[in-house]
Symmetry: C2
Subunit: 339 residues, 2 copies
DNA sequence: ATGGATATTGACTGCGAATGCAAACGGGGC
DNA sequence: GCCCCGTTTGCATTCGCAGTCAATATCCAT
């Protein structure tokens, strides 16, 4: 197009509502009203102002708007490296949903877990309307947010705040029932880091489910959620045990276990040992692995999380409700077929 | 701790610099100075004010600050779904680096490529100081940013703006030289989407490198960067050809090709056909694949991109320089060993 | 003791837009 | 023709903080 008609060419000084008002021959208030939904303004005036705004390349400043309305249209999203690693799509989906809700995603990356307190000042400084936390958050940090009336929604974890989570225990129950049906009698478990509550829930779910079949889940080893960690965990397990099934707290480790079995230990999967995971990451479906796993309802989780935080922001409320989403068992070739 | 001493318990009304000033018995200006680096203020006063601020739970408002300083400390990062898919760590690293630089990452997710224009109003509304674009951006959008004095750094692509990119051609040259050395004579190529400039550069790099050895790169098929896409591409290639090597524009497709060879076509890798990719994603190193590939210097790229955009913001400049980073050949088992 | 240079401090204004309030406008009923 | 009421519009103020300018405090040399 005509790259530079009146479109803000002069100097770079920001085009303000006053500029638009002058051009349209109206007051600044009118310009403001022309850009806010449901304001008292006539149709004719609105279109006239909009036209003038386009001519000048004007866009209302969210910053100034935030200052007076006390709504920044910013949702803080707290993640660690593992969030992106375990499921690359989560951040993208959250971003999309937040945009759909008319806000933007301000990302707070934590170098490690348990570093949640360092971001508190910025959470306040940037006036985030709400927070979605896909990582562990200290109780102090949660309390501070509550004090400042910033709603927090925990993503796939539970704690003293609103939460949206996958029903890990139910998922494990479905998985373990299936495993027992196809022959598992001496299972082993590879958990995630000790301090990971999700891993803890999944392990407990698995243990309880096996127990209900009269089966003891031993050994249980801890690892770090990674492929390499799973591989090493398998080595440790087979050094002293001979389980017929290895259940893992996530898919990455399960794939590592499969690789260890095949490439390091010379075992066939599922003939010599069955392997199962949790998450249903993309690689689990690849033919080299065909991992039996439990699919988390990622889209439902992110959508629910965003909806939840928006509700809390708009209602100016804070709750500690948890909304559970149901996962789904995905049967593939890393475990024996049912008869 | 004493969860609720003076720490903003009253009502939730924001604690302002005036509140701190009152408590410390000083002026509001003093409070402002106590929180800005290099301001003219005595050590004693600064500590006194800081103490009062802590007591009230005060943090300076970035919003108000941005309004007057015209620096939002917000860096816009534009991504598509593929950005996260292809390398999950990129977003995380960018976030970390941006935080290290004292800003925060505001993420703009695009549902598809070629949708860059829809985010322009928000880029302006949120007053982002600069933009890092890990996706294609229309020339109109770039021009608009330039007009508004918003520096844009393209991430791993090139165009009419500052750019930080991997030297794809050099990477391909190193890879192809190696392949020819270990015996490749009849190669095939699996490219990404037609409209992906990165894929185009890699394909051209491969073609030129083969040509310099007197080898014609045929056939060339296009796919969609995904594992499944690679798998289907392999089927198409082997329907009519019998290449001794398949080079792919990215690792995901290469892994799909390997799976197709082994599971669908009954071919051994690398004995019957060699496979190579580009990116060095985590899965490429897994023992089931051991994919020969070219590692992009992700950390160097993100660090350079953030440094570049910060330089441009602080210098209030705009350039169209491109900074190229060198990738590294990773030789693994999906191609024959050198003699 | 005094002038002057330097280091601190406070009062005040403005960044850009939203909003309560009052004025202006327009239409209908009498 | 007049008054009342509902719709639009403009005026003035406000959000929280940074930075300018003038005022004050401090210290050294003379």
């Amino acid at each position: 197009m005509t790259a530079g008609k009146g479109a803000g060419m002069r100097g770079g000084a920001r085009v303000t509502s006053y500029d638009v008002a002058r051009l349209a021959g109206v007051s600044q208030s009118a310009v403001s009203r022309a850009f806010s939904e449901g304001a008292s303004i006539s149709q004719e005036m609105r279109t006239r102002i909009r036209r003038a705004a386009i001519e000048l390349g004007y866009a209302p400043s969210n910053i100034a708007r935030a200052l007076i309305t006390k709504r920044s249209r910013l949702i803080g999203v707290v993640v660690t490296r593992n969030t992106a690693r375990n499921n690359p799509d989560i951040l993208f989906h959250l971003g999309q949903r937040i945009q759909d809700a008319g806000s933007r995603m301000l990302v707070f990356t934590l170098p490690s877990d348990n570093a949640s307190d360092t971001i508190l000042p910025d959470l306040l400084a940037y006036h985030v309307d709400g927070v979605i936390a896909a990582t562990s958050i200290s109780e102090e940090a949660l309390a501070a947010c509550a004090r400042h009336r910033i709603p927090v929604v925990l993503y796939n974890r539970q704690g003293p705040a609103a939460a949206v989570a996958c029903d890990h225990a139910a998922g494990m129950r479905a998985l373990i029932d299936h495993l027992v049906r196809v022959g598992t009698r001496t299972p082993a478990f590879v958990a995630g880091p000790l301090e990971a509550p999700v891993s803890e829930q999944r392990m407990r779910g698995a243990r309880d489910a096996f127990a209900s079949h009269g089966i003891v889940l031993l050994p249980q080893v801890h690892s770090d959620y990674s492929h390499e960690g799973g591989r090493q965990a398998a080595a440790r397990i087979f050094a002293t045990n001979r389980p017929d099934t290895i259940v893992c707290a996530n898919d990455s480790m399960a794939l590592g276990v499969m690789d260890a079995c095949r490439h390091d230990l010379g075992l066939r999967v599922p003939d010599d040992v069955a392997v199962a995971g949790f998450d249903d990451i993309a690689q689990a479906g690849w033919p080299s692995y065909a991992l039996t796993t439990v699919a988390q309802p990622i889209e439902a989780l992110t959508e629910a999380a965003v909806r939840f935080v928006v509700e809390l922001v708009e209602g100016n409320t804070i709750t500690q409700d948890t909304r559970l989403m149901q996962p789904r068992l995905i049967m593939r070739g890393s475990t024996p077929k049912p008869a």
